[in-house]
């Protein structure tokens, strides 16, 4: 069983700072981490490996500091890692990103399963996982909350959708995007940290990958960001203190009137 887990380096969300002048995110000096939702993908892959044998390869597309998140994944127990990095890849939207990652996966050769997080906490699109499946023309199950069984070259999963859990049987190879419910991610081990420190991580770039030049980076991306602005968060709402029974009663009165005015009762 060879499992590939594409992960993303993202800014630590609780520390996101905005440049109020330009309306853009300040990335310098902000700590980056493994996209928190990718940890569930890593954990799912490691559990399958432990149950059935095989290897887990972690892959990340991004600038060279992304090596750090790859090393963290290795410290959790992944067997090997690949950095997909080239100046030509910068400015890629989800279409170009999923193309580039799919080509990197093709370069890795044989695989049985690709597992990704549901989405990244910065871009929030949830489009790259399905996009990779489409480029590789393999079946896709999104929002997977439970892996029921793997046997005879097929995998049975439960997807969390609006009305409940849809149960699917997919042939291998295929791609899963997973949600938090699937597993509780493990912490890196000391042994893993030592191994990751010494590990030399290969870089896939435009020199050693088979790529269609016109599909890369900003030039290859169908979409363009026109403007970015910071939404106003404050709603200038009503704030009431309800310290004693009298205050509680009058606060409830006012809340009921408020909800009634908005036709919510």
């Amino acid at each position: 069983m060879r499992i590939i887990v594409p992960i993303k380096q993202v800014p630590e969300t609780s520390n996101v700072k905005m440049d109020t002048e330009t309306g853009t995110v300040i990335r310098t000096g902000v700590e980056t981490v493994v996209n928190p939702l990718d940890l569930y993908a890593l954990e799912s892959a490691l559990r399958i490996k432990e149950a059935l044998g095989g290897t887990v390869t972690v892959l990340s597309m991004g600038p060279s500091p992304a090596v750090r998140v790859l090393k963290e994944a290795v410290a959790m127990g992944c067997d090997d890692a690949v950095l997909v990095s080239d100046r030509k890849f910068s400015g890629s939207d989800t279409w170009a990103t999923s193309y580039t990652i799919a080509q990197a996966i093709k370069k890795l050769g044989f695989f049985d399963l690709i597992i990704t997080g549901e989405r990244a906490t910065d871009g929030d699109t949830a489009q790259v996982g399905p996009g990779i499946a489409s480029w590789l023309d393999i079946p896709l199950a999104t929002y997977v909350a439970n892996i029921v069984e793997i046997q005879s070259f097929r995998i049975t999963v439960e997807r969390l959708v609006e009305e409940g859990y849809q149960i699917l049987s997919l042939p291998l190879p295929s791609l899963l995007t997973v949600v938090k419910e699937i597993a509780n991610p493990r912490l890196p081990t000391l042994k893993g940290k030592i191994r990751s420190k010494e590990m030399n991580i290969p870089v896939f770039n435009s020199e050693n990958m088979e790529l269609e030049e016109s599909y890369l980076g900003l030039k290859g991306s169908p979409t363009r960001v026109v403007t970015i602005h910071t939404p106003k968060i404050a709603r200038n709402g009503i704030l009431l203190q309800a310290g004693d029974d009298g205050a509680i009663n009058s606060a409830i009165d006012r809340l009921l009137t408020f909800l009634e005015d908005k036709n919510l009762l």
Partner: protein, 333 residues
């Protein structure tokens, strides 16, 4: 000028509200561009009457692609069908819901047809002069709003946040055409099998579709106290949500979780009880119409963004609030 398409969604033969919300969005765009609006329905068991409703709520045409094997969403067949239709009809805009279906089908298809795709949009308009679709969406946990366009590639594809707009009222004077598109073998993909469906309870919590969500957090102190949340939700005719802290403590199941690692919702009313309002939670509720916060902590973040906040003991306030709502209901009868 090419057509504007919206993707209708059905569950067990019933059209979802999302189908009508998308038509309201599509109608504005199609009118600006002076082009027809098409509702594309892939599924099974949707009646003529239901399809007429798509027309009465904004569609000029309905493409009906129905087949027993399309009863449940299954990405590979749906994508094959949608890609083939795009190559035949060359629409300029396709809108789908930012639902589990839309967020799976659209990226799969966008790759195949080399289209630009923008996720989870909350605003859509046509750019003057170029007729490009301007798509605005929250990113970085709702901290920024980005406006995105696809200058050259067509179609321009977008998923739209559920409940971010209201359906148009039924207009009985509207007329349109239902086009039956026969399903042939090469439109179906049998690699993936749908084995069934599991619902833990008769009324599985459909948070994304609820008009009223009452959510509980760490401030509830223990799992049993979610009965307070359930009681108030029942009184209001809403459903129960939760913060990550409450789910991680095992007080309530993951499908209830709202926020960055859970669901994103836009109900008419969101009521947060004992929820501090971590940035990750706020990301999931910022587009709610009305936000109410009840929390004894005067510094709770949720108070700051709420339309109505009460600084006070939730254990006293919530049962009383529930009682008063039920009382009003009795009086109205």
């Amino acid at each position: 000028m090419g057509l504007v398409w919206t993707i209708a969604e059905q569950y067990k033969g019933q059209l979802k509200d999302l189908s009508f919300e998308l038509l309201a969005r599509g109608r504005t765009l199609a009118d600006t561009l002076h082009t027809p609006l098409v509702s594309v329905l892939i599924g099974e068991g949707v009646s003529e009457v239901s399809m007429e409703e798509l027309i009465k709520r904004g569609a000029d045409e309905v493409y009906s692609i129905q087949h027993p094997r399309l009863k449940d969403f299954q990405c590979e067949s749906y994508a094959k069908i949608l890609s083939q239709l795009i190559e035949t009809y060359h629409p300029i805009i396709i809108l789908a819901g930012a639902s589990s279906l839309g967020r799976t089908l659209m990226p799969y298809v966008a790759v195949k047809v080399r289209a630009g795709l923008t996720a989870d949009c909350t605003e859509l308009e046509i750019e003057e002069g170029t007729d490009n679709l301007l798509q605005t969406r929250p990113a970085i946990g709702g901290n920024i709003m980005a406006t995105i366009k696809t200058p050259e590639n067509r179609p321009q594809m977008a998923t739209v946040r559920p409940k971010s707009t209201r359906p148009l009222p039924v207009d009985r004077s509207r007329t349109g055409t239902i086009v039956d598109i026969p399903v042939t073998g090469n439109m179906l993909d049998d690699r993936v099998k749908v084995l069934g469906f599991r619902q833990d309870r008769a009324n599985f919590v459909n948070l994304e579709n609820a008009d009223i969500v009452v959510a509980g957090g760490k401030g509830l102190k223990k799992g049993e106290n979610f009965s307070l949340i359930q009681g108030l939700a029942d009184a209001l005719g809403g459903v129960v949500g939760a913060s990550r802290e409450a789910v991680d403590r095992g007080w309530i199941a993951y499908p209830h979780q709202i926020g960055l690692s859970g669901k994103t919702i836009s109900p008419k009313l969101y009521l947060g009880i004992g929820i501090s309002g971590a940035i990750q939670h706020l990301a999931g509720i910022k587009t709610s119409e009305i936000i109410v916060s009840i929390n004894p902590d005067p510094d709770a973040n949720l108070h700051k963004i709420a339309d109505f906040a009460i600084v006070g003991d939730a254990f006293q306030i919530v049962p009383e609030l529930q009682r008063r709502i039920e009382q009003r209901r009795e009086l109205k009868k």
